[in-house]
């Protein structure tokens, strides 16, 4: 073991939820360690403009908002380390969090590791990532001007991405495994009226085809079993999110999708271990809701630490 540290609160993850937790616990004078990982800021750091976070009437960039939160947490004395938790042991007290060989002890732990884009699980999808397969229309739509693009998914984000793609692409095919959209009506209506967007229902992507770059997709109709090929230049994946909870498997109760704990609330199956942010948000996924749950987790952790010290 190369290093160790003893803290009252260890926060794993440093998006808006984790940093809000850190601001609260550090300000409450609890010794606070934040394991930020290398991706400090979480999803919001990947968002160019944030216009709906209260207090910034002119909007603010995602990276700037994260930087301000980070500074605020440090100002109150939180210690930030840009390492990733590689394992945890919640079976005894103090709670243990490992970063490789290093071991950190905490009275309470707050997990705010967020979520990542769900993938189809195809080998071809990884091979063509950045070579025709992509997950962010805002980032890459402009490179598909005049091209034919398949958008996979049927929720709000898929339909929004299809609408964004239609500003540049020649044709947009929305491939959805169900027979109707789960996106909100307002988005669905806009997509249906958009002449560039066509819907392919009850259909899954079986394979992404191409030599060096994407040249098409092999599709399978879930109702009829029909298999066919659609030529395209790009495949935009918008099939939802999966929580970053692999490292906690076996240590905390979680459902088959990797979600820890109940739909609402910050508690887990282990006393003194709390969750917040997108990690446990199946629905709202806003900066302000992440911050809200980060605050609740911090207040619960603070209360737990004080109970232990009595």
């Amino acid at each position: 073991m190369q290093g160790t540290g003893v803290y009252e609160v260890i926060i794993i993850g440093a998006g808006p939820a984790g940093l809000t937790s850190a601001i609260y616990t550090a300000r409450a004078k609890l010794q606070t360690l934040v394991l930020t990982g290398q991706m400090i800021g979480g999803q919001i750091a990947l968002t160019y403009q944030v216009d709906n976070y209260p207090g910034f009437p002119d909007g603010i960039t995602g990276p700037k908002l994260v930087e301000l939160m980070r500074r605020q947490a440090k100002k109150f004395g939180a210690e930030l380390i840009d390492s990733e938790a590689t394992a945890v042991d919640f079976s005894s007290r103090p709670l243990k969090v490992y970063v490789g060989e290093d071991e950190y002890h905490g009275t309470a732990v707050i997990i705010a590791t967020g979520s990542k884009n769900r993938r189809l699980g195809l080998e071809s999808e990884e091979r063509f990532m950045g070579r025709g397969v992509f997950v962010c229309a805002t980032c890459d739509a402009i490179l598909y001007e005049g091209k034919r693009v398949v958008v996979v998914g049927g929720g709000d984000s898929a339909v929004q991405e299809a609408l964004d793609m239609s500003k540049f692409a020649r044709d947009v095919y929305l491939v959805h495994r169900k027979s109707n959209l789960s996106a909100c009506r307002c988005l669905g209506d806009r997509a249906e009226k958009n002449e560039k967007i066509r819907f392919i229902w009850d259909t899954e992507v079986e394979e992404i085809l191409g030599e060096k770059v994407v040249e098409g997709v092999r599709l399978r109709n879930r109702q009829t079993g029909e298999v066919w090929t659609l030529e395209c230049d790009g495949v935009l994946l918008a099939i939802g999110w999966v929580p970053n909870t692999d490292v906690f498997r076996g240590q905390l109760d979680m459902d088959a999708n990797g979600y820890i704990g109940s739909k609402k609330g910050v508690d887990t199956s282990v006393d003194g271990v709390y969750i917040c942010g997108d990690l446990n948000d199946r629905k709202y996924r806003q900066v302000v809701t992440a911050c809200g749950s980060g605050c609740i987790a911090a207040l619960e952790a603070e209360s737990f630490v004080h109970r232990q010290q009595k």
Partner: protein
């Protein structure tokens, strides 16, 4: 001062294709979150490499910039490409942390001698 040159389509030929030393180019734009994360790491690279030029091209600045990116096969941002004597000798797609990025660029540059001795500049 940063050693990364902001490239435009107008100076692409002189700065990249006709450069004597290898040129590393980051194709990016400011609506791309991963690009923004990569920027500060990329800005530190020039001091880590000798005889290598570093540039970045914002693909939203002009249609011409975007056309250059598309012509060179950029299909996602950020994409870093390495050019040597007018030849595209390798690419790194997506975000990397500092150590991985340096290693990946070094791996591509290791092909440089082969490139210098066997290539002739592209049209």
């Amino acid at each position: 001062m940063s050693g990364v040159k902001e490239l435009q389509a107008d100076d692409w030929e002189s700065e990249v294709m006709k450069a004597e030393s290898p040129v590393v180019v980051d194709f990016w734009h400011d609506m791309c979150g991963w690009c923004l994360k990569l920027n500060p790491i990329y800005e530190e690279l020039p001091e880590r490499f000798d005889n290598v030029k570093f540039g970045k091209m914002n693909i939203l600045t002009s249609v011409e910039n975007r056309s250059i990116a598309i012509k060179h096969g950029v299909m996602g941002t950020p994409t870093i490409k390495v050019f040597c004597q007018g030849r595209d000798i390798g690419e790194i797609i997506g975000f990397r942390n500092r150590d991985d990025l340096i290693k990946d660029i070094k791996d591509i540059l290791a092909k440089r001698e082969d490139c210098l001795s066997h290539s002739s500049p592209l049209e």
